[in-house]
Every structure is written in C-alpha cells, then in structure tokens.
C-alpha cells in the first residue's frame, strides 16, 4: 500500500512471516504491494496466493510471479471474497494506514481461518521518550515520518491490539515482537513487549480450540 514506508523498514518481518505460514496453504495478502512477500511464500512454502492492493502498477509484478492479484481498496471492503476462502490472510504494515481498521480485521477473519497482523508499536519506549521529553510527534527507525507526511492514520500499541482482540473474542495464537534487531517469541509479558517492541506480529483466529495447536 505504501511501498516507500515498507521499503524503509528492515523487512525482517518477512522472514518471520515465512516461519508462521505452513506449507501448501491458501494465502491472501492484503496491501501486498509488489507481491514479493507472496512470491517468497510461493517459493519457500508452496502456498497458493492472492494479493490485494490499491496500486495496480505494483500488482503487475505479482501477475508476472504467477500469483493472483486483485486491485481494490481495503477501505471499500472485501465483499468479493467468499467466507473461509483462504487459510491465512496477511495484513502486514497495513492496519495503521487504513480508514476502517476494524472492518478490515473482521473481513480478514471472515475470509481466512487465521489472520497474520503486523504493525508498528506506537508505545515503544523511544516514541514515548520523544513524546514526553522532546514534546514532538513520535519518530523511530520503524516510524521515520514527519507528522505531515506519515501514511499512518491509526495510532495503536501492542496493548491496544490485545485489548481489541480480547473484546472481540479473537484468539491470539502466536505473537512475535521485534526488539532491537531480534524477534522475541513470547507474549507472556505484554507490558514489557509494549514498552520495548518496535513491531508486533500476531497470528489471530476466531476459531475456538485452535489455541491448543500452539
């Protein structure tokens, strides 16, 4: 959706997402940009993939990779996609740029059995620090924007996301947190993750019972 922003991130999240997606499943990537994540998933996980993005020129790359693409605006809904059509629906670095994030989250769990959601944590300590001491809008390596050119119109933290999941009875199956340059696999200390992590990645589902799969 916002290639510049995505490119500026280190993209280590891509490697983590690869570890979260099983072999041979059906994957829908929302805000897929040039479909390179889907292409990696096809190469390494032999998934069957579809990418959704608003930018048709980027989607042409996906066509050339041989993945299916669908040009559309996430904020206008995903009603063309039937229920349970995919095993995994990915929403990576996109939740914070859509107008209707709750609708997108609901749609992804309608269409897919699992959702993978990755977003920058706006409560990371550097951001808090800058806000508190410098009195400036938050900036960090994961959020390098000025207030006037940021694509991020939704500001959320890891705790905000977990609260929402609890409230909506969405189960968090797995979580990964980027601390410095390393990914932490635990969700045991949510407040610490919320303070330290630049990026949170969550595998979520509506299905009960899959909690035990972990």
């Amino acid at each position: 959706m916002n290639s510049g922003y995505v490119d500026r991130l280190s993209r280590t999240d891509r490697e983590v997402i690869l570890t979260l997606v099983p072999e041979g499943v059906r994957v829908l990537d929302l805000g897929c940009g040039d479909c390179s994540l889907l292409n990696d998933l096809v190469t390494h996980r032999r998934i069957r993939g579809t990418g959704v993005d608003i930018d048709g020129r980027q989607l042409v790359n996906g066509l050339a990779y041989g993945v299916n693409v669908y040009q559309g605006d996430l904020d206008e809904g995903l009603s063309d996609f039937p229920d349970h059509a995919y095993d995994y629906v990915i929403l990576n670095q996109t939740l914070q740029v859509v107008k209707h994030p709750l609708q997108v989250l609901k749609e992804m769990l309608r269409i897919g059995r699992f959702g993978i959601v990755g977003f920058p944590n706006f409560a990371q300590w550097q951001l808090r620090f800058g806000h508190f001491f410098r009195g400036r809008a938050p900036k960090s390596p994961a959020l390098p924007f000025e207030w006037y050119d940021t694509p991020n119109i939704r500001v959320l933290s890891i705790l905000d996301f977990l609260d929402y999941c609890r409230q909506e009875k969405i189960h968090v199956v797995k979580q990964r947190h980027l601390l410095g340059g390393r990914w932490l696999r635990t969700g045991r200390l949510p407040h610490l993750n919320n303070l330290l992590a630049h990026i949170g990645l969550f595998v979520i589902t509506r299905k009960v019972g899959v909690m035990n799969l972990q």
Binding site: R57, L63, G66, N68, Q71, A85
Partner: protein, 379 residues
C-alpha cells in the same frame, strides 16, 4: 516501418462444412460452407502450446497487427499489443486472430454469396450468436492442430468470445484475458444497439437488407456516431472537444456541422461506411444483445464452476458501457468457485475505447500475466 511491428502480413483462409454437411447454429439454422479469414503472427513452437487466440470486437477484424502492404496508413487494430516485445510478444507466442462469422471482412456473413442462390445472403443469412462465432473459431483452432490455447484474449465483444470459449471448451483454454467486458450487455447498452440498428433499417437505402453496392450509408453512419459516443467518456469528450466550434468563432445559425464534436462524429460516421457493412452491423450487434451467460449456463456462480482457465479481468475506470462493476461481478463468481482469477482496474479517461488506444497502460499487465501463466506448472 516500426521495428517492433510484426511487419507485412497476409490473411489466410480456412473453409469447413458444405451445404450437405453444414454447421448447425444455436438458432437451429444451418450454415455451410463456413469460411473464415484469419491472420497469424509469430511462430508455433514444437507442440503448438504457445498459441494465443485474439478475439476482436464489433468493428474489428482479423487484421490485428502489422501491415497488408508497405504503404498502408494504418496498422492492424491491436498493433500496440501484438508484436515483438509487446504485450502479446510474437517472439514467444504464436498469435492468431480470425474474423468472426457474421462479419464483413472475409469470413462468412450476410455479404457472402449464398451457394443456394448465387447471390449475397442478405437477411437470408441466419442469425449467429457469440457461441456460433466461438464454434467456428474452434474449427479453426482444431484445423491449426492446437491442442490447448496458451491464452485467449479480447476486449468488449472479444471478451464475450473469451468467456464463451472458457465455458464451452474449458480443457482447451489454459488462460484467458477478458478486457472491458461483461457476462451480458446492460439494458443501456442494448438500448444503444437498438438505436444503431434502427438507424440502419429506417434508411430507405437498406431495402430489407437487399441493397447492392452502397447501401444504407446514412443509417450506418448514424449508428456508428451513436456507438462512438458510448465508447468515449464524458471527460474525454469535454477535454478533447469541449464546446469548441470547428472552424468559426461565431455561431452561424444554420444546421450544418458546427461544433467540433459534430464534425468529429460526422467524420467517424462516414469513415465507418467505407469499411463496414450495414447488415453485418445488424447481425453482430444482435449477437451481442443475445449474449447472456446466465441465460445459457445459469447463475454466474454456477456457470463459472466449469471454468478451468487462469483468468485475468481488466476494466477501465471511465468505461460506462462495460463498467468496472460488470467485471467485478465475474471476478466475484470466480472467487466464489475458488478459481484462479486476477482483476486489474486501469485508471483512464478514455472510456471503453481505452483498451484499444492506451497501449502503454495495458501492455505491462498483459505481458506480466502471460509471464506468470508461463511460470505455472500445468495442472
């Protein structure tokens, strides 16, 4: 001559059926012999697995790319997509385009000679459907010994043929590109076709279709004028012509062509009569009006269950004759069946005509899709 051109091409002919062994049409009528004129660009590979069939729209024909002689002013109608290094890369693919039956460029149509009378068929030519056009193309594809089409592509009415092929012969279509098209015409589109046909049949020169030589040129020109409006967007007309007067800057207070848009449409209308047959216009627009996947195959969702081809639907943002919603309706039906489908809406001011005129926008989409199809292992 353009280095990316397929260069000089010569149309070829293929005939099947006889008066004794005719082709049976959807209407139940018979037609035989059936003549098809077609062109090919590029070369077949060893197992003929690189064939791409191009389906033309209402006023198109088999001459899709290149020149017929070195002094031609115009190239084939889709020369911006077909050629070396273009969307349909003739260095890789063997591209075929045939004139539809019912047409007027050499394939059997109302202007052909009826073997029973030795005269032109006129209205004795049976009504043909999109399905009949596809059936005739199927004979050609079999004659060319193509086991499976690598791709079939077309815009507008060409898209109808793409859909019909994919439904009728799913096993013979590996991938399909349906551009600025629909599963059936909208009521509005049928209404415009009705006006076009009416202009022809109300022209006294039409003579119940038994005209010789010139025929109902005024009626055909009027039909084309109406058609042409539907192919362009309001925005484009406004930008290109606005309210400009063609040659004066004062109003002349008479009925001669005065506005720039008037003279443009008049020109388009009369130019069309030089290259198109009025009866063919009636037959082809009727075939378009009849085309209806729901009527022939049931609700889209059920109908598309039989499709096995990898599909690409392309629509144009300013196309109001075949609006994006009609493409998306088909995409939705494909997704409901879990079929491999892609959808691209190209932003354009050109309206329906965009697929013919905006080559630069379409080319990477087609080239990318075909590359992706080539990467897929065949199921």
């Amino acid at each position: 001559m353009d280095r990316n051109s397929v260069g000089l091409v010569t149309p070829k002919r293929f005939t099947f059926g006889t008066p004794q062994t005719p082709m049976t049409l959807e209407s139940g009528h018979h037609l035989g012999p059936v003549e098809i004129v077609y062109e090919t660009y590029g070369q077949p590979n060893e197992d003929r697995s690189n064939a791409i069939l191009i389906c033309h729209a209402l006023s198109g024909d088999h001459h899709a790319a290149g020149y017929h002689n070195p002094h031609d002013r115009y190239t084939g109608w889709w020369d911006n997509q077909i050629g070396p290094g273009k969307g349909f890369d003739t260095d890789q693919y063997w591209v075929i385009c045939a004139n539809i039956i019912g047409g007027c460029k050499g394939s059997s149509g109302p202007g052909s000679i009826n073997p029973a009378t030795g005269q032109a068929y006129g209205l004795d030519f049976p009504l043909v459907t999109i399905g009949d056009m596809v059936e005739a193309q199927k004979h050609l594809v079999d004659h060319l010994e193509i086991p499976t089409l690598f791709c079939i592509a077309g815009g507008s009415m060409g898209g109808f043929q793409v859909l019909e092929w994919s439904l009728r012969y799913p096993q013979q279509v590996r991938s399909a590109i349906c551009i600025a098209s629909a599963s059936r015409l909208s009521t509005q589109a049928i209404a415009f076709n009705t006006v076009g046909r009416s202009a022809i049949t109300r022209d006294p020169e039409w003579r119940e279709g038994r005209y010789s030589d010139k025929g109902p040129e005024k009626g055909l020109a009027t039909a084309r004028m109406v058609g042409h409006i539907t192919y362009l967007s309001e925005m484009l007309l406004d930008a290109k012509f606005g309210r400009k007067l063609q040659s004066a800057d004062r109003l002349s207070y008479h009925f001669d062509s005065e506005f720039a848009i008037e003279s443009y449409l008049n020109h388009k209308g009369s130019a069309f009569t030089q290259r198109f047959d009025a009866n063919s216009y009636l037959y082809i627009t009727k075939a378009m009006d009849y085309f209806d996947i729901q009527r022939s195959y049931g609700p889209l969702r059920e109908a598309f269950a039989r499709i096995t081809a990898r599909f690409l639907f392309i629509s144009y943002s300013s196309d109001w004759l075949f609006p994006t919603a009609q493409s998306r309706e088909m995409v939705r039906a494909m997704l409901a069946n879990g079929r491999p489908v892609s959808f691209i809406e190209i932003g354009s001011h050109y309206g329906h005509d965009a697929f013919l005129v905006e080559g630069d926008k379409l080319r990477p989409v087609i080239a990318g899709f075909l590359q992706g199809v080539g990467r897929q292992v065949r199921p």
